[in-house]
């Protein structure tokens, strides 16, 4: 997640769940932890029992709120205003942890004089190109430094963004460990701290109350509680989940929390940190070892069509002269050796010229548009259900119907496999079975009990699970499917002379198999991920051993060490009661280097002593001459606190002894992100893409850089703010999960004991809204947007509060998104209502805040349904056309 990556250097949770027990205050925001991570929530309860404050900031009063010592209700999509308000409170009252901020963050760094803040340009940062709809980030840089890669070579140059910057990227192009111009007194008007102060000056408690719909008192109480529970003696933690990420401003929301936690000095310390709570067993793993278009294992970038035409440029552009990204070439070459073995040589540039190239967005939402346009012929889905789980489900189902062939692998027949005979579009007549050309293969998958393998959990911990039983009949693991698919393809192309087949022929694809079904050995794959020295075959013990000369092989550099000494470290299961501390380092294996709290050098003061006895974790042992403590130090073990990098030093050696953020080029946490983000160096409040309000700060209403699909007929948008037509969609809708179900429901609607606990799709509304539109508790409601309409049972509850802001009352409608047309329990899919406007950094959809209308009764059936949706949409859009309002980013183009 680039929000964390650009701020701290690594795109993972900074801490681990058990450490929450040490927090003095836990702010849960953008997460419903008690419901969605109930077992992890035990550690929040432990903290509460020890007297910690637990604050839940959320549009809804959930099972998490019920357990919190304080719940503050806010409008969905107003998180940056709330967090910015906290930052302002801290800065205005000089309550930041001065020593931490001055030494461990980039607060003292002076920024280029050409930088213009959103506060001075009506919601845009400097560098906005209205034609291209994106930023030129040149003016955001540190003063006195050139952006890496000369200006004339920008096309070839370095501009890591998106997931790649989810891992610290190359650290802002610093050529030396220290930024050249700083003000240690933090007073220079262009130093980061002063810029931050000005940026947030208008985020007063009153502004927060107006924008978020909470009270001034509640907001101030949150600020005070946080401040009182931070500092040398106390620490506070933040927990977030997709309530923050699923917005057109998702990354910047996490950045906001990163800024607050830096100001309070809470990163790298016990009881502190930012706990990213991920929703799938290996969602962290699937970005570390990505099944994502734009990165390769370990956040190495995919080569791009617009740049990196030569290996030399590619290596140069991605190598930071300082910090651990200084060894980029070693990571890259070792990966190429893992992929292509002896075929990758220094002479052929490790086959760089043959690697596929990406465009700036080839994400899932790009692909569905390509499907709709008829450009995608074949699609393989393994353990995902876009027909229910993706925003604007209808667009996805229509897209699937345009494929030539589709492979669906799952343990049950999910809606994405059955769309051709039982989707809502078949019912409505928009699709006709006999007219769908798609050839569909459904292949039954194996479950976690039927295969060996590792998941990487929400705290970067790789945990091995052993196979318990053989999969039955045709059921197979994905390991089996992809291995044998690759084997068959390679076999068939063995004699090909085509240039395009050179790479696949060169692919190393030898894995031992076992059992009757020829299951590949998962441990053999993990060994490749860990890496070894090619000549001796000796397993590597970590990424510092990687070489750039082709003598080592490693499938994912940040996972190197998971098979140290030939032992599967991820399978370590030493019971916690046999371990010395709660950190339990001998349970499984965490990346990087088995560190559980990362940046833990920051748990000690600049001299290497714990900030306080109460919060000791990792410290400098002067007698032994090394860092020590409860965890593996996230620092070069013998680097003294007073170490000053000698002139001319590079990579890790250029990081000073009192700079804990070793992935960053300057070794510091970044309050201000000069490079790595698409939509600005600082978070700014924008309204959601669809919102009933204008931006109280600027005429720039929503994130100018958000990705929209204005020309896509399948993704129409509701009129917003005060636009005529917006009154048809006057309510804020937010979608979410329930404890009893999992995501799109394929793993829970199919399980009797779970299906019975939440058997029907429902909507949650306040009694006032129910009265306003005539909804009856227990009856039915139809909820509609420009995209579609769904029906749901009505749950009238005080837990969804109406909020007052800007003198207006706004109602919110809550929708769980677990249902679809198949399973033991069925229902309409909330995602059918959502649009596909995306966050520009990570291409995540905004399903946590958009607008809708609601009326009593069941939705129209059959062909009446699309007609109903179209009539309302046409009505809304025609009203808008009579009084056109142009979005500011559009207006600026003309």
């Amino acid at each position: 997640m680039p929000g964390l990556g650009t701020s701290f250097g690594r795109g993972g949770a900074t801490t681990f769940q058990q450490d929450l027990q040490n927090s003095d205050c836990i702010v849960i925001m953008g997460s419903n932890m008690a419901e969605n991570h109930p077992v992890g929530f035990q550690w929040v309860m432990e903290a509460r029992e020890r007297g910690a404050k637990v604050i839940h900031v959320d549009p809804r009063f959930t099972r998490t709120s019920a357990m919190a010592t304080k719940h503050v209700g806010i409008r969905a999509g107003s998180d940056i205003a709330f967090l910015g308000g906290i930052a302002n409170y801290i800065l205005e009252h000089d309550l930041y942890f001065r020593e931490y901020v001055a030494k461990y963050t980039n607060a003292p760094v002076i920024i280029d004089e050409r930088f213009v803040d959103t506060e001075d340009a009506d919601g845009l940062f400097s560098g906005w190109d209205p034609e291209a709809g994106r930023y030129d980030i040149e003016s955001w840089r540190y003063e006195g430094m050139e952006v890496h890669g000369a200006a004339g070579q920008r096309g070839e140059g370095f501009e890591p963004r998106g997931e790649q910057s989810g891992h610290g990227a190359a650290g802002g192009g610093l050529h030396h460990g220290e930024p050249p111009v700083e003000d240690p007194e933090l007073e220079h008007p262009r130093c980061v701290l002063q810029i931050l102060k000005r940026h947030y000056r208008r985020y007063t408690p009153e502004f927060v109350a107006e924008t978020c719909g909470c009270s001034v008192e509640d907001f101030v109480e949150v600020c005070q509680t946080l401040v009182e529970n931070s500092g040398r003696e106390r620490t506070s933690a933040f927990c977030y989940a997709v309530g923050w990420t699923q917005h057109t401003t998702g990354v910047q929301t996490i950045r906001s929390a990163a800024i607050v936690q830096q100001l309070l000095g809470n990163i790298g310390r016990p009881g502190g940190g930012i706990m990213a709570l991920r929703g799938h067993a290996s969602i962290q793993g699937s970005t570390d070892i990505p099944t994502l278009f734009n990165i390769l294992p370990g956040y190495l970038p995919m080569p791009h069509t617009l740049s990196y035409s030569k290996l030399e440029n590619f290596i140069d552009a991605n190598t930071s002269p300082t910090g651990w990204w200084g060894n980029f070439e070693a990571y890259w070459v070792s990966l190429m050796k893992a992929y292509f073995g002896e075929h990758a040589t220094v002479e052929n540039d490790w086959l760089f010229d043959l690697l596929p190239r990406i465009d700036s967005d080839n994400s899932a939402y790009f692909t569905v548009q390509q499907m709709l346009a008829g450009n995608v012929k074949g699609y393989i889905i393994a353990g995902e259900n876009p027909a229910v789980g993706h925003a604007n489900g209808k667009a996805h189902r229509l897209g699937l119907a345009k494929l030539d062939w589709l492979v669906v692998r799952d343990i049950v027949e999910i809606e994405s496999a059955s769309f051709w005979y039982d989707s809502p579009e078949i019912e409505s007549g928009e699709l006709e079975t006999e007219a769908i050309a798609t050839e569909v293969f459904f292949l039954p998958a194996a479950t976690h009990t039927e295969k060996d393998g590792s998941f990487t959990n929400t705290q970067r911990l790789l945990q091995w699970h052993w196979q318990a039983v053989e999969p039955k009949e045709d059921c197979r693991s994905e390991l089996w499917f992809y291995f044998h698919l690759g084997r068959l393809i390679k076999q068939k192309l063995e004699d090909s002379e085509e240039e395009r087949d050179t790479l696949i022929k060169a692919l190393r694809w030898e894995y031992p198999t076992h059992s009757q079904i020829q299951e590949p050995a998962a441990e053999a794959v993990l060994q490749e991920v860990n890496g070894w020295e090619i000549e001796s075959g000796k397993f590597l013990s970590g990424y510092p051993e990687l070489k750039d000369d082709g003598s080592t092989l490693c499938g994912c550099w940040i996972y190197s060490g998971c098979f140290t000494d030939g032992v599967n470290q991820t399978a370590r299961k030493k019971p916690h009661w046999e371990q010395e501390s709660y950190v339990a380092p001998e349970w499984a294996w965490a990346w990087p280097a088995n560190r559980r709290i990362i940046y833990n050098r920051a748990s000690a003061d600049p001299d290497g002593n714990p900030w306080s006895e109460r919060k000791r974790y990792v410290w400098w042992d002067g007698d032994e001459g090394k860092w020590t403590g409860l965890d593996v130090p996230d620092f070069k073990e013998d680097k003294e606190p007073g170490y000053v990098p000698p002139e001319g030093s590079g990579a890790e050696d250029a990081i000073a002894g009192d700079h804990p953020f070793i992935m960053q080029a300057d070794g510091r946490a970044w309050l201000y992100v000069a490079q790595g983000l698409e939509d600005g160096p600082l978070p700014t409040h924008y309204e959601p893409h669809e919102s009933p309000f204008d931006n109280p700060l600027y005429s720039q209403r929503a994130n100018p850089r958000r990705q929209q699909n204005k020309d896509l007929a399948e993704d129409p948008y509701n009129p917003v703010a005060d636009e005529p037509g917006s009154e048809i969609y006057p309510y804020v809708v937010t979608t979410y999960r329930l404890t009893e179900h999992h995501t799109a429901g394929g793993m829970t609607r199919t399980v009797p004991y779970l299906a019975e606990l939440q058997p029907e799709m429902f909507c949650e509304v306040h009694p006032d809204l129910a009265r306003e539109v005539g909804l009856e508790h227990g009856g039915w409601a139809t909820i509609y947007t420009s995209r579609s309409a769904i029906e749901a049972r009505v749950l009238v509850t005080d837990r969804i509060r109406p909020l007052r802001m800007n003198g207006r009352e706004v109602h919110q409608v809550g929708l769980p998104y677990h249902w679809g047309g198949r399973g033991l329990v069925t229902g309409d899919s909330a995602n059918d209502l959502a649009h596909m406007a995306l966050d520009p950094n990570v291409h995540i959809q905004e399903v946590k805040a958009f607008t809708c209308g609601i009326r009593p009764g069941r939705r129209p059936r059959g062909p009446e349904l699309p007609r109903f949706v179209a009539e309302l949409r046409d009505q809304a859009h025609s009203r808008r056309e009579q009084d056109p309002r142009i979005e500011p980013e559009e207006a600026r183009k003309t």
């Binding site: 008690a34 419901e35 109930p38 077992v39 929530f41 035990q42 309860m45 029992e49 009063f61 099972r63 709120s65 019920a66 357990m67 010592t69 304080k70 719940h71 503050v72 209700g73 009270s215 008192e217 509640d218 329930l738 404890t739 009893e740 009797p752 004991y753 779970l754 299906a755 019975e756 606990l757 939440q758 058997p759 029907e760 429902f762 508790h777 227990g778 049972r793 009505v794 749950l795 509850t797 005080d798 837990r799 509060r801 033991l824 329990v825």
Partner: protein, 286 residues
């Protein structure tokens, strides 16, 4: 007064009486207990109907639901010291068979199917129960219930039609193997605690004292008192409001309270017969 009926019959085999302390002040309403119970005891699914009653789609304890999480939405602050801006609270409570010290179900069971185990718990023995249903109205909590289930040929556990009475066994089989009951083991926040009853009572007293000191609104123990109408529960609760709010009877009384008196009368009338049979028994042994 607090020794459960029937426990002394085990002599050397008697175990320390165990039970549940369900502390609702930490219950997150996740229903892990409901599922854990069903998974372990192979209980059939209990209907797929949505109730609209907050997040409770289980409804009540029944033959096919041995743990039931109640959800109560209230306009009432959690703490009496004025904390909480909305004054809204959402109470959750995992209900279960109380395993009464004086259990009426046990008294009325004519077949000896319902019995007191060596752990002091009350269990229906499925190889004995004939489905007469006498116990059903005897329970002051409405826990006992007959299973009406068409045979499900696909599921070996439910292959036969069933009319027997089913309820929480406090995982009798697991206790025999030295394992804690499934619900208590699963509970993510240890709202459900399992252990020797005496120990649980001490723990509950301390917990209540802590919550009182912190100003929790309405905190009270329910079923902890050995002098109550059923001699105390083997599975008792810490509630945050009156029992009625959770759908629990405020002052449960063993429905067979007057039974000993009735027995005395009956025994007097049948005295001769009993003596005769006993004599025959002694004779056959010698």
């Amino acid at each position: 007064m607090s020794a459960p009926d029937g426990l002394v019959t085990y002599g050397d085999e008697q175990q320390e009486r165990v039970g549940f302390f369900t502390d609702t002040s930490v219950c997150i309403g996740c229903k892990a207990c409901e599922v854990a119970c069903k998974e372990w005891n192979l209980i059939p699914e209990d209907g797929l109907s949505w109730t609209g009653n907050s997040y409770d789609n289980t409804g009540e304890l029944s033959a096919n639901t041995w743990r039931h999480v109640a959800f109560v939405e209230q306009e009432k602050p959690l703490l009496t010291n004025g904390n909480g801006e909305t004054g809204l609270r959402w109470l959750m409570e995992s209900d279960v068979c109380k395993h009464c010290t004086h259990a009426a179900c046990l008294d009325v069971c004519p077949t000896g199917s319902l019995f007191r185990t060596e752990f002091g718990t009350v269990v229906v023995q499925q190889d004995i129960c004939n489905g007469c249903g006498y116990c059903v109205p005897a329970c002051p909590f409405g826990v006992l219930d007959k299973r009406h289930l068409a045979p499900a040929p696909d599921l070996p556990a439910f292959a036969k039609e069933d009319g027997r009475v089913w309820k929480c066994t406090l995982c009798y089989d697991r206790l025999k193997g030295g394992h804690e009951p499934a619900c208590a083991k699963a509970c993510p926040t240890k709202s459900i605690q399992f252990g020797p009853l005496d120990e649980l009572r001490e723990r509950a007293d301390a917990r209540l004292a802590k919550l009182d000191a912190e100003g929790w609104n309405g905190a009270q123990l329910y079923g902890r008192d050995p002098d109550d109408g059923v001699g105390g529960f083997g599975a008792f609760f810490l509630l945050l409001d009156e029992p009625e709010v959770y759908g629990l009877p405020p002052d449960p009384v063993v429905t067979t309270r007057d039974l000993p008196e009735m027995w005395t009368n009956m025994l007097a009338a049948a005295g001769a017969l009993v003596v005769g049979v006993a004599a025959a028994f002694v004779g056959s042994r010698s």
